[in-house]
């Protein structure tokens, strides 16, 4: 064999170490897949800003008064609604008037004569009453003291949100959340378990999630005001634990609430 060919054949049959590299590559893929499956999902999804997107804020201020369900003078306006077809059909039919024979009343000759009204002489006006001199006398119905109904055209809230009664400074900003009355129930139930008299003015913001079935989960302190105050707020939520199920008109599966507990001295 030619010398050069021998050298070339010798070079050709060099050692190939592809096997270990394939093993390493396989291990890398397995690790990557495991990371994909078991790793936290936030590696893959876009980061969602954790800042609370406020869709509504409710503040109830003032002295807690009688819970009257949000009745106010304007809330008492009658509500008109269209009667359903069934209701319309259920209207009782008016019976036709009984037929009577036509008759002409004949005056009885023995009827006593009508007494003639006695004309009393009108009292003589001597002078105008005190304080009425120089004024044009008023006409029309008599003025009376008392309450009266005035339609101002202002639409009342009618939401039953005044769990604190007629307190001053109540404000309501309903955003896109469908069901404020649900929130009213929630706030009332939470306040039952919460003692705001802790002897110090501070604010704790709690975050929690209401599941579809009304269960409160993921209770966490969003903004701390000290351990004891956080504990009081957390206790209120944990003791409650169950709310009514989320209203059907609310389409999402959970509702995350940022709730401010303001302690006041």
């Amino acid at each position: 064999m030619e010398a050069v060919t021998a050298v070339l054949i010798d070079r050709e049959t060099g050692r190939r170490r592809l096997g270990p590299m394939l093993g390493g590559s396989l291990a890398l893929h397995v690790v990557l897949f495991a990371a994909l499956v078991f790793g936290p999902g936030r590696w893959l999804t876009a980061t969602v800003s954790r800042a609370p997107r406020v869709v509504m804020s409710i503040s109830l201020g003032g002295v807690p008064g009688p819970a009257n369900g949000g009745a106010n003078p304007l809330g008492g306006r009658p509500v008109q609604r269209v009667a359903t077809a069934a209701e319309t059909r259920r209207q009782p039919r008016l019976a036709p008037a009984a037929k009577t024979r036509m008759s002409v009343p004949v005056p009885s000759p023995k009827a006593p004569a009508k007494p003639k009204p006695s004309r009393a002489p009108a009292p003589e006006v001597k002078s105008a009453p005190e304080g009425a001199t120089g004024r044009v006398p008023t006409a029309g119905p008599e003025e009376q003291f008392g309450s009266s109904f005035a339609d101002t055209g202002v639409s009342g809230l009618g939401l039953g949100l005044s769990t604190g009664g007629a307190g001053a400074g109540g404000a309501l900003d309903v955003g896109s959340f469908c069901c404020p009355d649900y929130l009213a129930i929630m706030v009332r139930r939470i306040k039952e378990n919460w003692n705001y008299r802790q002897g110090i003015a501070a604010t704790t913001v709690m975050r929690f999630t209401i599941q579809r079935n009304g269960r409160i989960t993921d209770v966490a302190v969003e903004q701390s005001a000290g351990y004891v105050l956080d504990l009081a707020a957390e206790r209120a939520l944990l003791m409650l634990r169950q709310l009514p199920p989320l209203p059907a008109a609310y389409s999402n599966s959970t509702l995350t609430v940022y709730l401010r507990f303001d302690y006041q001295r």
């Binding site: 394939l22 396989l26 499956v37 590696w43 999804t45 509504m56 307190g167 306040k191």
Partner: protein, 250 residues
């Protein structure tokens, strides 16, 4: 004094974030997909594993080859005797220049021996002469071609991966979408709930195809460029070798 308390409330409508995250979704999608889609994913995984294995292997080989070529050239340019260089060759076997040199040295030795000279070392015999510089050139060319073949070995698989895997993934996606539309037809409902899982499942295949293809494209280009650099270096070395041989043995 009567204490006052008030609550302020802010609500966040949470976007429907699944508690399990995306990872479990991926696993669920893969587990629920059709056998064809699973087969496609398996093929893509194999392509990816093999192409990454080749990439690691070639990068490692080229790194060693480059280092040993540098060492070999140092020795070659400092040394006066080809036999000294030949002795070093055994430890620098990864370098392609070593192959070229060994081939040239063997051809040169053969010519000198055929001419009746006693040894291959240029200074050993007083006036050894070689017959044909063209034959030496051909030997060097043969060795260069072989070395380039060795360097290029398995690199085309990366090009194959780069061009095929997107199509395989696309095939899996199209198949999955066919199934998705079939399920629309069966349930007679066009709601997103019917269509979306099938399409999500189908798109996994395209994602896997791209996952395999993108690194393969990059590393194919990089490795091909390195092969070209080695080939240039070998050509350069061949000419240098020819010059030395012509100067000393004619």
């Amino acid at each position: 004094m009567r204490t006052l308390g008030y609550l302020a409330l802010a609500l966040q409508v949470q976007d429907a974030a699944a508690p399990g995250g995306v990872g479990s979704n991926v696993l669920r999608l893969v587990a629920h997909s059709s056998p064809v889609a699973q087969f496609v994913l398996l093929v893509l995984a194999l392509f990816s594993v093999v192409s990454w294995g080749i990439t690691f292997y070639k990068l490692w080989t080229f790194h060693r080859a480059g280092r040993q070529s540098k060492a070999f050239l140092d020795v070659f340019r400092k040394s006066n005797r080809f036999s000294e260089v030949q002795a070093v060759c055994k430890t620098l076997g990864e370098s392609p220049l070593v192959g070229v040199f060994q081939a040239g040295y063997a051809e040169l030795n053969a010519q000198l021996r055929h001419a009746g000279g006693p040894g291959g070392d240029p200074p050993a015999s007083p006036h050894p002469t070689m017959h044909s510089i063209q034959a030496l050139d051909r030997a060097l060319l043969r060795a260069s071609a072989l070395e380039v073949d060795k360097l290029e070995d398995r690199v085309p698989f990366l090009a194959t991966t780069a061009s095929i895997t997107p199509f395989i993934g696309l095939f899996g996606t199209v198949w999955g979408i066919i199934n998705a539309f079939d399920s629309i037809g069966q349930t007679a409902s066009t709601s997103l709930a019917v269509v979306a899982p099938g399409i999500a499942e189908a798109l996994i295949a395209t994602a896997a195809g791209l996952f395999a293809a993108i690194p393969a494209v990059y590393f194919y280009n990089r490795l091909a460029h390195q092969v070209k650099l080695f080939a240039t270096q070998m050509d350069d070395f061949s000419l240098e070798f020819l010059n030395i041989a012509e100067r000393n043995f004619t």
